[in-house]
């Protein structure tokens, strides 16, 4: 962007460094995942003496009555639902918050930051969910993830809405747009690249969340993918090959999603940057 020809030296150095720093740990996960239990328990970085890719995969999937499959379904629903709600609700708040300064602004800012700062209180939350009849239900957990994720998304949206000129709002209002139309037709589409960021980041957070499902949606039949890790790691005995196979499998969905959105991020960015 800032210069026209590629820096050859920088490129090579960056790629080499990235291999050492980022790819080797991943290779380690991959190798351990295909080892036999005995070799995996050595935990060294070595070539597998025997490849058990298929067997380990089948073992992991079949474990505990195909729990991993159920967990994948649960995690997908949880992630899609909570992130969609998050995006809309957080963008609405961020928009109103950034655009309109009233005596409430201070309080709302305070609440937003509080949400980022205060560690959630688990047991009182369970108590509230029970009163609402939402404890141990998927909608309950979805709302919990929304509540805990709002602050972060609002902050992110607010920062970017600040870069959208108010003239645009004014033009839309002069054209007779109401608040809803203004927001959904004008503002939200402009937030596309931030929305992608929020979606990627929050999906990963929710999909990888471990603590909240553990407390708010207990029970094996409700398990999310992170909870399946507990099947293979435990205090007394550890099957590292299956554990790493599990890590590998549950990393694939976020990875796929990222690869899919990655192009969009780049596309969205270049559309904004290069043509401008």
């Amino acid at each position: 962007m800032t210069s026209r020809r590629p820096h050859l030296f920088m490129s090579v150095a960056a790629i080499l460094l990235s291999v050492v720093v980022f790819l080797v740990p991943f290779a380690f996960i991959l190798l351990t995942a295909v080892k036999s239990r005995q070799q995996a328990s050595l935990l060294d970085f070595s070539w597998p003496t025997r490849f058990q890719l298929v067997q380990n995969f089948v073992d992991v999937v079949q474990a505990r009555d195909y729990m991993l499959i159920i967990a994948f379904i649960n995690s997908t629903i949880l992630t899609v639902a909570s992130v969609s709600i998050l995006v809309v609700l957080a963008a609405m708040v961020a928009f109103a918050l950034q655009r309109r300064r009233t005596r409430w602004t201070g309080l709302i800012n305070f609440l937003v930051l509080s949400g980022l700062i205060i560690p959630p209180a688990v047991v009182p939350t369970i108590w509230v969910l029970q009163k609402l009849g939402l404890f141990r239900t998927m909608p309950g957990l979805i709302l919990v993830e929304v509540a805990f994720g709002l602050s972060f998304c609002i902050l992110l949206f607010r920062a970017f809405i600040a870069t959208i000129p108010r003239e645009l709002d004014e033009a839309a209002i002069i054209d007779g747009a109401g608040p809803l139309r203004l927001f959904f037709r004008v503002i939200l589409p402009l937030l596309r690249s931030v929305i992608i960021t929020v979606v990627v980041v929050q999906s990963v957070t929710v999909f990888n969340d471990f603590v909240n499902p553990l407390y708010f949606l207990p029970g094996d039949q409700n398990a999310t993918v992170q909870l399946t890790l507990y099947n293979f790691s435990s205090q007394y005995s550890t099957q590292y090959n299956l554990l790493f196979m599990d890590i590998l499998l549950i990393t694939i969905p976020p990875l796929l999603m990222f690869l899919f959105f990655n192009k969009r991020i780049v596309a969205g960015m270049t559309a904004g940057a290069i043509k401008g």
Binding site: M138, R185, L188, P218, G219, Q221, S237
Partner: protein, 438 residues
């Protein structure tokens, strides 16, 4: 145009996702389908051996009672699991039947309020008396035994002992003398595995039989806050021992990062000679290191008096019924417990998971094929040289003992300040329980 389509698709996906929620609870529908059939849920910890045993029990029980099916759920072990059990109990959301520790952890569940009183059930008469005390609160019995007794002692490699001509030590001095010879023989005398912190506590917790022998009734005084680890030299011995093996350089070099699995392998291969650990770990040792079942023996943590030396024993965990289980499910749950605490139950359990110590049900016997360490444990029990660990005799147990033991055993903190820190840690627990005298 394009923009509105994006906005629309965001909205659409949101509503779709919301609609899908109910479909998603497909996974969470566990209601039984009626027709005289009862389905029980059974929560156990996620140790592979526990899950295997629980599933074995569930299968054999259903084979005998076709109307009742049992579905096993698992939870994490350790304090995280404690929290889940407590949360689910306090929100009346527990499974129909659940497995959990006996002793002080059982007491912390407020059994009178949360569990079904089983005192009158037939299986209670078949249950071992020692075990019964560990699941009794205010003279009511609440649990059936799940599995075997096990000990906190020192597993040792018999090959190393034979090669160096050593004998099983009965006093700490004899133990240290052995260590010197083992070290001279080029083997690590004592294996420690602080990569998993809970394994650091054995020198302290496993020493309790010796403490009790030296000053009978110690546990009771301890509950009343009349004795302390820091000020009682007998009780403090456990901390001193930890410091001594470290200071003398008898510990494996990589003790700080070694994990249980590594430690068991070192022991099985003879890279280390002795490992203070729970005897139930023999099952994993044999699974991971085939062919070592008769190479590994077990002896009690040595004390000061050879004549009084004996082994500290842990009771098996219990299976309980929460107060939230009622009606048909309650009747079925009681039937299930009755099966677990019967010779048939022991057989079923033993088929699924290798027994690692004596059963807590009268009429159950161990097969002859058990590993040597289990036989060694049985010998102590037969000679009346065994007693329960402190956590079964007193509700007081501090949560930070494992970290403190790691510090003392790694030379970060000396034994005496370590013991003192533990006394402070315990105080919080006692206050939390509302005990007298704290």
């Amino acid at each position: 145009m394009k923009r509105s389509r994006i906005a629309l698709s965001v909205l659409a996906s949101a509503t779709l996702a919301l609609g899908a929620c109910s479909a998603g609870s497909l996974g969470s529908s566990d209601e039984d389908s009626g027709g005289g059939k009862v389905s029980l849920s059974f929560l156990v910890d996620n140790a592979p051996e526990t899950v295997k045993a629980a599933e074995g029990l569930a299968k054999d029980f259903t084979a005998k009672n076709p109307d009742i099916t049992v579905k096993v759920e698992s939870r994490p072990q350790g304090t995280e699991g404690d929290n889940i059990v407590k949360t689910r109990l306090s929100t009346s959301d527990m499974t129909d039947v659940f497995q959990y520790n006996s002793g002080s952890l059982f007491q912390a569940l407020a059994p009178q309020k949360n569990l079904v009183d089983l005192t009158g059930e037939a299986f209670v008469g078949r249950t071992d008396d020692n075990f019964k005390t560990t699941v009794t609160a205010e003279s009511k019995v609440y649990g059936a035994p799940f599995g075997n007794f096990f000990a906190g002692g020192i597993m040792y490699n018999k090959d190393v002992y034979t090669k160096l001509g050593l004998e099983v030590p009965k006093t700490w001095d004899a133990f240290m003398a052995n260590n010197a010879k083992i070290k001279a023989g080029g083997v690590d005398p004592v294996i420690q595995s602080y990569g998993e912190t809970w394994t650091s506590q054995l020198f302290v917790l496993g020493d309790y039989y010796n403490v009790e022998k030296a000053s009978p009734g110690w546990a009771e005084k301890y509950t009343k806050n009349q004795v302390k680890y820091a000020t009682d030299p007998v009780a403090r011995a456990g901390f001193d021992h930890l410091q001594q093996v470290h200071d003398a350089g008898y510990v494996n070099k990589d003790f700080a990062s070694t994990k249980l699995t590594d430690a068991l392998r070192k022991l099985a291969k003879g890279e280390g000679a002795q490992y203070p650990i729970l005897s139930s770990m023999i099952t994993q040792l044999v699974t991971d290191n085939p062919g070592s079942e008769n190479k590994i023996g077990l002896f009690a943590i040595p004390g000061t008096d050879a004549a009084k030396n004996g082994i500290t024993v842990w009771a098996p965990s219990g299976v309980y019924i929460p107060a939230s289980t009622t009606g048909d499910k309650l009747a079925a749950s009681k039937k299930f417990l009755d099966f677990i605490a019967s010779p048939e139950g022991c057989t079923s359990f033993g088929n699924a998971s290798q027994p690692s110590g004596a059963w807590a049900v009268k009429g159950c016997t161990l097969p002859d094929s058990v590993p040597q360490a289990v036989k060694d444990l049985q010998a102590y029990v037969d000679q009346q040289a065994s007693g329960l660990a402190l956590e079964f005799l007193s509700p007081v147990k501090g949560p930070a003992l494992e970290q403190i033991c790691v510090e003392v055993g790694s030379g970060i903190r000396k034994a005496e300040p370590g013991a003192k820190l533990y006394d402070e840690d315990v105080k919080k627990q006692a206050q939390q329980l509302g005990l007298e005298g704290w």
